[in-house]
Symmetry: C2
């Protein structure tokens, strides 16, 4: 197998994501065809809304991990493509419901589906895509894969409920934060990698790839949470501030608050209560997250999970896919620097 370089935008260096898209082009073509075909419905709102969110510039990270996991230990077949599409539909369904739950008006820099079609349509189209994900999974003809993904789906919902219950809990222990992101984010990465290995025909590598996926998912979410505050510098990173505006308790906040002075405690308490938050609070939050070294400490935590993800790969046979999965783990944290 030869991994060819894709055409690069001038001045932009090629990332592992670009390379994955390039080497998986044919497989991802099949997955995209499935995503489009299975979002079809005689009820117009459904394909319209689905396409809006499915094509909203997502990186297709989860289906690519599914495919790469299968190829690292075997080969991809229709079952793998159906599984990869199912994983993306589950992810999309949770995004649609998250936007309603979080009352987010924006998603990836453009109006959230719920801002265009309303909360009700977002809830129901999420349900539709979730159901279609299971229809796709039936095509893998594997009850084990169905079991893995249905379990992951209930764990995701549990994670979201825990996150909801944690809102405003400024004293949220780091362990609780980690349990929340393990459920709401890492569970799907873990299930996608495990099921990918099974669909590739190598159950003996399923545990290793599951561990890879779980730790990758943890690192990915931790980095996302620090990027929401601009990472270690706002010069390169773009500050999003979504989590802050929603009063979410994430790792950078937990560490900054823990290391802060008494008056900082009062600040965090007021600023993370959405009813008392002020316009200028985000700037101060970013300042505190940097000044206390919380941004660096958060990234170090993500780095640890990247290390675990990479070492989980060690038992796999050497291949360019294994190399790419390792580089993908590194990229998770590199994107913050």
């Amino acid at each position: 197998m030869t991994i060819s370089a894709t055409a690069r935008e001038p001045g932009k260096s090629e990332t592992v994501i670009d390379r994955l898209h390039s080497v998986l082009e044919k497989d991802m073509g099949q997955v995209e065809t499935l995503l489009k075909a299975r979002a079809k419905s005689p009820v117009d709102i459904i394909p319209d809304l689905s396409e809006y969110i499915v094509s909203a510039g997502g990186k297709r990270l989860r289906p690519m991990i599914t495919l790469a996991a299968a190829k690292a230990v075997g080969s991809s077949k229709h079952a793998t493509h159906a599984l990869a599409a199912a994983v993306e539909f589950i992810h999309t369904a949770t995004l649609l419901h998250d936007d309603v739950v979080d009352e987010s008006d924006l998603r990836r820099g453009r109006p959230a589906a719920k801002s265009v079609w309303g909360n009700s349509a977002s809830i129901l189209v999420g349900d539709f895509l979730f159901a279609r994900a299971f229809t796709l999974m039936v095509e893998t003809e594997s009850l084990e894969i169905l079991d893995i993904l249905s379990n992951a789906s209930s764990v995701i919902a549990e994670g979201e409920v825990r996150q909801l219950a944690a809102q405003g809990r400024l004293d949220l222990p780091t362990e609780d934060y980690l349990a929340i992101i393990e459920a709401k984010t890492a569970a799907l990465f873990e299930a996608a990698s495990r099921a990918g290995a099974l669909s590739g025909g190598s159950p003996e590598h399923a545990d290793a790839l599951a561990a890879y996926g779980k730790n990758l998912g943890l690192a990915f979410q931790i980095v996302d949470d620090v990027l929401d505050y601009g990472g270690t510098t706002s010069v390169i990173g773009k500050v999003v501030g979504d989590d802050f505006r929603e009063g979410k308790i994430t790792l950078p906040v937990i560490i900054a608050r823990r290391r802060g002075k008494a008056e900082d405690h009062a600040f965090w308490a007021r600023a993370l209560d959405v009813s008392t938050q002020e316009e200028s609070d985000l700037a101060r939050a970013i300042h505190l997250i940097r000044a206390t070294g919380a941004a660096e400490a958060t990234i170090a935590e993500a780095d640890a999970y990247v290390g675990l993800a990479k070492s989980a790969l060690s038992s796999l046979p050497d291949s360019e896919w294994k190399t790419l999965l390792g580089e993908l783990a590194d990229f998770c944290v590199q994107r913050v620097h």
Copy 2:
């Protein structure tokens, strides 16, 4: 098999529902155990909210039909119990999401879950129960059953979206109304009956039982829709008025409006627009539905589906289960008189 009478409340005649509960007591015990066990979660809100809605006095009609379908053509086993519990979880998940979509504050006469725990928790616990339904279905070890129920689930969501899009469409054709209720209600009855037959070990009777379930579901929803306006008389029937307050276009309204005078058209247009509806409008709506004979005509439509449901049973071997399923179809409409 002997069908024994259950203890009756004094002065209340025993219905076929009571008899089904009585003859299915042992099986339903297993189903109830599964419902309780599989709603468990370390995240307290989930079992609390699940139990609130799962135990909210539902008649367990869908799991009982699943069991009776299996027994009418074979026998019930663990797969049947798991399937019956999965069907109830899917139904419960749709109720939780419906309450958010319809902005209903009440469900079966007590506060809707969303009024107690909020919209977000209702959405997420709905997702949780939907995922757990699929985990339960994996236990049937039948990809065909998983396919049937995942397809039904996407059809239900399509029906809900169509219903949403039909809001305020006073000229909704009867055929569109029927397509909506076939998707949002009858699809689950149909899937439960078909999958019940498969789990009972008789694929040769699956089509007949699917036709039974579909027509029963249509009759059931049509009767529900006329009962929302008190049926043919408000003396016995209790007027709910939920559909009216939500501006839903249902069969009694479609017929009453079609048969009404010009000034009635203006009334329906104003009254079914939730922003211009007045307190006294429900009484006038009920009056028009009776005066135009729309209530009777709606019940006649339901009666036709009861007939189709019963004739679908004709190819099944004679048994007390077949008799009960036939009586259940009759009961669907009898409850309105």
